[in-house]
Amino acid sequence: MSAAQNPAAHDGSPGVPATLSARQLARRRRRDSFLRGWRLFRRNRSGMLGLVVLALFALVALAAPLLASAEGLEVTKATGGVLEPPSSEYWLGTDDQGRSVLTLLIWGARISLFVGLAATVISMVIGTLVGLVSGFSSGWAGAVLFRLTEWFLVIPFLPLAIVLATVLGRSLFNIALVIGVTSWPSTALLIRSQTLSIKERAYIERARVLGAGRWHQIRKHVLPNVMPMVFANTTLTVAIAILAETTLSFLGLGDPTRVSWGSMLEDAFQVGAITTGAWWFIVPPGVCVVLVVLAFTLVGQALEEVLNPRLKGGRAMMIGGGGGGGGT
């Protein structure tokens, strides 16, 4: 077999046959780097714990129709008594309408997670775009966007959310929109500062020297280097979004026809579950929110560690790099 077909490196790493196309090479690289990241992530115990918890909740949300009949949500079909404590028939008791709290919890997971994710998508898209453009353009466009970001950042979340929700009407989508529109500035600022520092790197100038226009520079160089931060930030944003949705629903701004953990808390509060001691109505949704938010936070922190470029240096950073006169 000639060297061109099977060039094994002296250091033992597998060679690459010359017959691979550019696309296959790119795919291989993505697969390799994903596996490497996964291996690093696996070592982080709290991150894995968070991931497991999230996976469980995601499973529950997706499998909701299998776990609890949708009919259990309808008030007219409720078969239980009012605020009954947990029993063998109703594992988590019933609510003030006689519905099974467990059913509500399972179906509520769907709404809470869905709204959280939708809000996060809106927030990340706006925030990343604004952050990239305001960081990269040195002209008036950048300055204007920056001022806009600061302005939105300063507005207090809750009053703005209440006003918007009241004006837009109570629906799931509107809640997601409200949360997205009020939480993008912090993402934008993060992305912007990251973009500003990347803009100065030599490889951006190299792209310019090779003939790249501004858009190519952003797409191929700034964005991939900013994405790790975006991912880590996303998981933390989801946590915040879920909390926000819970809050807004609790305040009565959510969709009245849908059950979410926040709306369960609102109901519980309205019927005085605290004073009557109906803990099975209040505690489970609260605990679920806390668990999900905690899980997202743990995963986000683990992701930040994995995607931190410091780790890419490896031993080279200890010995002093592969060039120059300094080092050891």
Binding site: R315, M318, I319, G320, G324, G325, G326, G327, T328
Partner: protein, 322 residues
């Protein structure tokens, strides 16, 4: 006593997740008062790591064996109190990359004064100020520069501040780690001028570390060349630079051609391959894979340092006795 530094069979190994990495292997080194010793080598050769042991600054994950005797006392085993007294007042360092070693939010005068205060907590401010002024003048800067912040100074000036800092507590030994690497040729000449002046004026001993053999040849009395964590050649600087015995030392000195030498015109001289990774050292002589004179025997055993005349040693089996 004239004896300043004696290193005997010093070895340093880093303990990492992937195993033990030998950064320094069995090094012997001698330095006396009033002497300038050059330590030459490239990245990964262990020179900076070796120097860090003089003040016991090696990272906690490193395991050191051998003796590092400063004026007869072993730095590696001395008590914490003795070590504190040694640091800066016995021996001090001029670190590589002065740009990063200075605190940007404090005036340079205060930073020079810091070690003075640490070693003599009761000293009067007036005396400290006078001493700082004296130090600045010794390195060729006006005393008024003490009030400046680092960002107001140029690269050469910052490096001189680092030297002034190293002199603050009147050490007997100064270790200069790549003191001129990032500097322009003219500024480099100025800084080297200051350093050699100090050695002669104050009678200190200096260990100068650099990858530029020509700079060391100019300034130092003797040169020690390291490769792959070991000493491969040592001797008087003019001889090591001009007529090196070890093929690596010869290659290192040829890398910086003499301007005007017709042999170097359109004939840049370099070695194939790269300096070895300490975690994956080749068997036997670690230079063998790149050596123009290597033979099969070179990879079978690590060559010993052999003497070739008074005060010259080389670790190469291909060098003939004169």
């Amino acid at each position: 006593m004239n004896e300043l530094l004696r290193m005997r069979d010093v070895s340093l190994t880093y303990r990492t997740e992937e195993g033990d990495v030998p950064a320094v292997r069995n090094v012997d080194l001698d330095l006396d008062r009033g002497e300038i010793l050059g330590l030459a080598g490239e990245s990964g050769c262990g020179k900076s790591t070796l120097a860090s042991t003089i003040l016991r600054l090696q990272p906690p994950s490193a395991r050191v064996t051998g003796e590092v005797l400063f004026e007869g006392h072993d730095v590696l085993t001395m008590s914490w109190g003795d070590l504190r007294a040694l640091r800066w007042a016995g021996a001090s360092m001029v670190f590589q990359g002065a740009l990063h070693s200075l605190n940007p939010v404090r005036r340079v005068g205060d930073q020079i004064a810091e070690p003075i205060h640490l070693h003599d907590p009761d000293i009067e401010d007036k005396k400290v100020e006078a001493r700082v002024g004296e130090l600045l003048e010794q390195v060729g800067l006006p005393a008024a520069r003490a009030r400046a912040y680092p960002h107001q100074l140029s690269g050469g000036q910052k490096q001189r501040i680092m030297i002034a800092m190293a002199l603050a507590c009147r050490p007997r030994l100064i270790v200069a780690d790549e003191p001129t690497t990032a500097l322009d040729v003219m500024v480099q000449a100025q800084v080297l001028h200051v350093l050699s002046g100090l050695v002669h004026e104050l009678g200190v001993g200096m260990l100068m570390i650099s990858h530029d053999l020509s700079v060391l040849a100019d300034l130092c009395d003797r040169i020690v060349v390291m490769y792959g964590g070991r000493v491969v050649e040592q001797g008087p600087s003019k001889l090591v630079f001009g007529e090196a015995l070890h093929p690596y030392a010869a290659a290192l000195s040829a890398a910086f051609p003499r301007v005007g030498d017709p042999a170097a015109r359109f004939a840049p001289s370099g070695l194939p391959g790269d300096p070895p990774d300490p975690a994956a050292l080749p068997p036997g002589c670690s230079f063998a894979p790149r050596c123009p004179k290597s033979i099969e025997e070179c990879s079978s055993a690590v060559p010993e340092l052999r003497s070739f005349g008074a005060d010259r040693q080389a670790a190469c089996i291909r060098v003939e006795q004169p």
